[in-house]
């Protein structure tokens, strides 16, 4: 291949990359919080995701330095029974919103690497299907909080 052709190819690839933003780049996160429970008990984390893109995006999970284990879960209530199950992903529709909130989708945080207290900020990397990540700060709230607070 001539050096000139290679240059064209590289430029072309770069342009394609720029035109095709990652999933994370289309997502805005808000109301990010987690519920602190005593001791080593697993905590639930919640966030609202807004997708400004023309394509749906899929949240696959998250990671954090503060917790060794983070799982994407969904609570459900059928026939008066509360259940919890792992889910592969949560879809944020194009120009739409997905909400991770108590009694629905949530991130289950386990094995904290250091004690997390109410008022702390926990940084999490939200992972999307295309491998892109969105760094989001979650506010740690007391056990008896019902939402993200002010």
């Amino acid at each position: 291949m001539k050096p000139q052709a290679l240059l064209f190819l590289v430029t072309g690839l770069l342009l394609t990359g720029a035109a095709q933003a990652t999933e994370a780049e289309h997502v805005r996160a808000s109301h990010a919080w987690l519920r602190v429970l005593p001791g080593e008990l697993p905590a639930g984390a919640y966030v609202t995701l807004e997708n400004s893109g023309d394509q749906p995006v899929a949240l696959k999970g998250a990671s954090s330095d503060a917790y060794a284990d983070v799982m994407l879960h969904q609570s459900s209530s059928e026939g008066g029974m509360s259940r919890m199950a792992m889910v592969d992903s949560v879809t944020v529709p194009a120009h739409g919103t997905a909400t991770l909130a108590p009694a629905g989708y949530h991130l289950m945080l386990m094995k904290s690497t250091h004690p997390v207290k109410p008022g702390d900020t926990v940084r999490m990397n939200l992972k999307f299907a295309d491998g892109s990540t969105l760094v989001t700060d979650f506010v740690a709230r007391p056990a008896n909080a019902v939402d993200a607070g002010s």
Binding site: L41, G44, M84, M110, A143, A145
Partner: protein, 204 residues
């Protein structure tokens, strides 16, 4: 046929009078907004251990209006939400809430020891009591109120979930079952019904 001896007759009257009294208590209709279960569920009765490690029975909570809820501390989402909502309900009741207790019964006694339960319930509300104990005693209490729970298979690291009934059972200060609430019910209605029981059941 022999006529009843006056002494026996007096006893019979006494029994009838008592029956009427009990009947009054049972039929004491209150305009509940949530599901009224008065007379359809057994009185509060159990033999468990509280979060101070003390053996307790249902009669220890006579004089208090009780909200009974089954859950477990390793439940990261629905149980803490329910407990947080009950805390808000208690706050809304103001000083009346001192005559109410939230009884959080563990359906996971293996992990939920009294110290774990103590730290847990205190993170939610000072009027919350954690109850754990012998798995058979917990099962007996659960069955008494037609509640159910199932331990799900272990995850990769030995962690496991417990699926459980999400209902809350409300008992009056005499230990009679009065109201059934679900997490989907409105908080206003629960506050309303507890108000009725707290105003009514504790003449002081």
């Amino acid at each position: 046929m022999k006529l009843l001896h006056p002494k026996h007759l007096a006893l019979l009257f006494l029994l009838l009078a008592l029956g009427t009294l009990v009947g009054c208590h049972r039929d004491e209709k209150l305009p509940f907004r949530l599901t009224d279960v008065s007379g359809h569920m057994p009185d509060l009765d159990f033999k468990l251990t509280d979060d101070h490690g003390k053996p307790v029975t249902g009669t220890d909570y006579r004089g208090k209006v009780v909200v009974l809820y089954f859950g477990y501390t390793h439940c990261p989402d629905v149980c803490p939400l329910t407990m947080a909502q009950l805390h808000v309900v208690m706050q809304r009741l103001g000083p009346l809430a001192d005559k109410a207790r939230i009884l959080f019964v563990s359906v996971d006694p293996t992990r939920d020891t009294p110290p774990v339960m103590h730290a847990y319930v205190n993170a939610f509300d000072p009027r919350a009591v954690g109850l754990t104990g012998d798995p058979r005693d917990i099962e007996a209490l659960s069955k008494r109120y037609r509640s159910a729970y199932t331990r799900e298979p272990d995850g990769k690291d030995g962690n496991y979930e417990v699926s459980h009934s999400s209902a809350m059972y409300v008992f009056d200060s005499k230990g009679a079952a009065r109201v059934l609430a679900t997490p989907a019910d409105s908080q206003d209605d629960l506050v309303h019904d507890l108000h009725l029981l707290l105003d009514n059941g504790n003449p002081s």
